[in-house]
């Protein structure tokens, strides 16, 4: 394989020792970056370079590196998961950038996402929203019903599946000018609201999850649509409208 010309990149990376300290952008130069490497591979190379000079490596979240775990985050050049559409940071390739470009790398910013260190934020607020109502109760006493025994309209099943592809990465929160978790929350509500199994707890689910999101400090939805554009899984705004409908009917009829 012919050797490709490496890229020279200037990085402005957010460095912050811990949640209490004040962070700042720090500038790094990294040369000979393969255009085919992923953004995280480039970050790995940067950390090698920093460690070689006895520095403290940049801490960032990652796990599966194939776009399904929702671990990686990073606000890259003013957008969550960078400039490419429908990909997470781990699937973002350096060829999306220009040789000699300056790239800003910041943590996802929200009151509900406190910085732990450098680019790592605590996203457990999303877990707590899920715990508040994002589940169904199934009898597992030994004679569990087959879920496929209930006929479900194909279109609805597809929509529920689309909503369930949300990986909970928090890009919607990071992109939203109000740090709202509406897209995440509405996907988690919709995946059940569309299915018969989800009807039993439907009312309490939407009320509890919305309440939890507010307690966590996520903002209101301004319908800017930024979340839908930036979502690596293409979760639709239609889900937010469904959540609004679910919430309206639940509020009007709850005791």
């Amino acid at each position: 394989m012919a050797a490709e010309k490496g890229m020279n990149i200037t990085l402005k990376v957010w460095r912050q020792k811990n949640g209490q300290s004040k962070g700042a952008l720090e500038t790094y130069q990294i040369n000979d970056v393969s255009p085919d490497s992923s953004f995280l591979e480039m970050m790995d190379a940067l950390n090698d370079q920093i460690i070689m000079k006895d520095g403290s490596p940049v801490v960032f979240d990652h796990d599966c590196r194939e776009g399904i775990c929702g671990s990686c985050s990073m606000y890259i050049n003013g957008q969550p998961h960078g400039p490419a559409r429908l990909v997470t940071t781990c699937q973002l390739h350096m060829r999306e950038f220009k040789d000699g470009e300056t790239i800003y790398v910041e943590p996802f910013r929200a009151k509900a996402f406190p910085v732990i260190k450098d680019l790592v934020v605590d996203r457990s607020a999303l877990d707590r929203i899920q715990h508040a109502g994002g589940y169904i109760s199934v009898n597992t006493s030994g004679n569990t019903q087959d879920a496929n025994a209930i006929p479900i309209e194909k279109e609805k099943a597809d929509k529920a599946f689309d909503a369930a592809t949300c990986i909970g990465c928090g890009a919607c929160v990071a992109a939203c000018k109000n740090a709202s978790a509406s897209l995440f929350m509405s996907a988690k509500i919709s995946q059940y609201a569309l299915l018969p199994q989800g009807q039993v707890e439907a009312k309490n689910r939407v009320l509890a999850m919305v309440k939890q999101a507010e307690e966590e400090g996520f903002g209101p939805c301004s319908n800017t649509g930024a979340c839908e554009i930036e979502c690596p899984k293409g979760i639709s705004l239609e889900n937010i409208a469904r959540m609004n409908r679910e919430y309206l009917s639940a509020s009007l009829t709850s005791k």
């Binding site: 952008l25 910041e106 910013r109 992109a175 309440k211 903002g219 319908n223 800017t224």
Partner: protein, 257 residues
């Protein structure tokens, strides 16, 4: 947060109210614009038409009721909007050093609070310009075409009548309420180029507010359907351009006439 209930119990409920009052105010704008079109009528006929319309708008009980609902809607929309804006800001105390919001959303959608504030200031100025002067200020009164007899609110000319404290007196007897001449106040007001410029600017702000607000209201109320979304978006854009443009045209037209 405690177990809050009632009118503003959550962000989503606040958004329902924004949408609900916003859509009502869109209906109001349509009616207001239809009335204003009478200002394009020229001559004495136009002046009389507009002043008779002003009497109808201030005396008809149904219109009065609607006007109170409109005032309430404006106040509620503004206060609710401020509360939402504060919650928006609180949710991200530390902003990004480098952000490209134009990559994922339109400018209007991110600046509804600023646009709304401009419109609110405009409404206060506009109410002072015409509503306050018409109700409480010293207004001229409407005369018949020959200019020798004052008109009553129902349009009848009282030959030899004298106007005192807003009423027409004939031989010392009160024969009815005199018709005020709002048309002349409007014509005089729009001889001021600064006022005309301010009105035009406010209507541009209104246009941008509606570009996002119109379709956003439907989404907030949960009305999102692939069949109707394109219609809502297109009607919203058309409304946001056409209605403020005609509103803005009126002071400009009157300035140059």
């Amino acid at each position: 947060m405690s177990e809050s209930r009632g009118l503003l119990k959550s962000h989503i409920v606040k958004k329902y109210w924004m949408a609900f009052t916003g859509l009502f105010l869109i209906l109001f704008l349509t009616g207001h614009l239809a009335g204003n079109l009478q200002l394009f009528m020229s001559g004495y006929a136009g002046q009389l038409q507009f002043n008779e319309y002003a009497v109808f708008m201030t005396t008809n009980p149904a219109v009065k009721l609607l006007s109170y609902v409109t005032y309430l809607s404006i106040i509620f929309h503004a206060i609710d909007g401020m509360m939402i804006s504060i919650a928006n800001k609180k949710a991200r105390p530390i902003s990004y050093a480098y952000s490209r919001p134009e990559k994922n959303s339109i400018w209007s959608s991110r600046n509804m609070g600023v646009l709304g504030t401009i419109i609110l200031v405009y409404i206060v100025v506009h109410m002072q310009n015409f509503w306050y002067v018409y109700k409480f200020g010293s207004t001229p009164f409407m005369m018949n075409e020959a200019g020798n007899a004052p008109l009553l609110q129902d349009g009848t000319a009282v030959a030899g009548g004298l106007i005192e404290n807003g009423s027409v007196f004939l031989n010392g007897e009160n024969v009815g309420v005199a018709m005020k001449d709002l048309h002349t106040i409007v014509v005089d007001g729009f001889t001021n180029p600064i006022l005309v410029g301010f009105y035009v600017l406010a209507m541009i702000a209104l246009g941008f507010h509606l570009v996002h607000g119109f379709s956003s209201a439907f989404q907030s109320l949960g009305l999102n359907h692939p069949k109707y979304n394109p219609i809502i978006r297109k009607v919203g854009y058309a409304y946001a351009i056409v209605v403020p443009a005609i509103f803005a045209l009126i002071p400009v037209y009157m300035f140059f006439m």
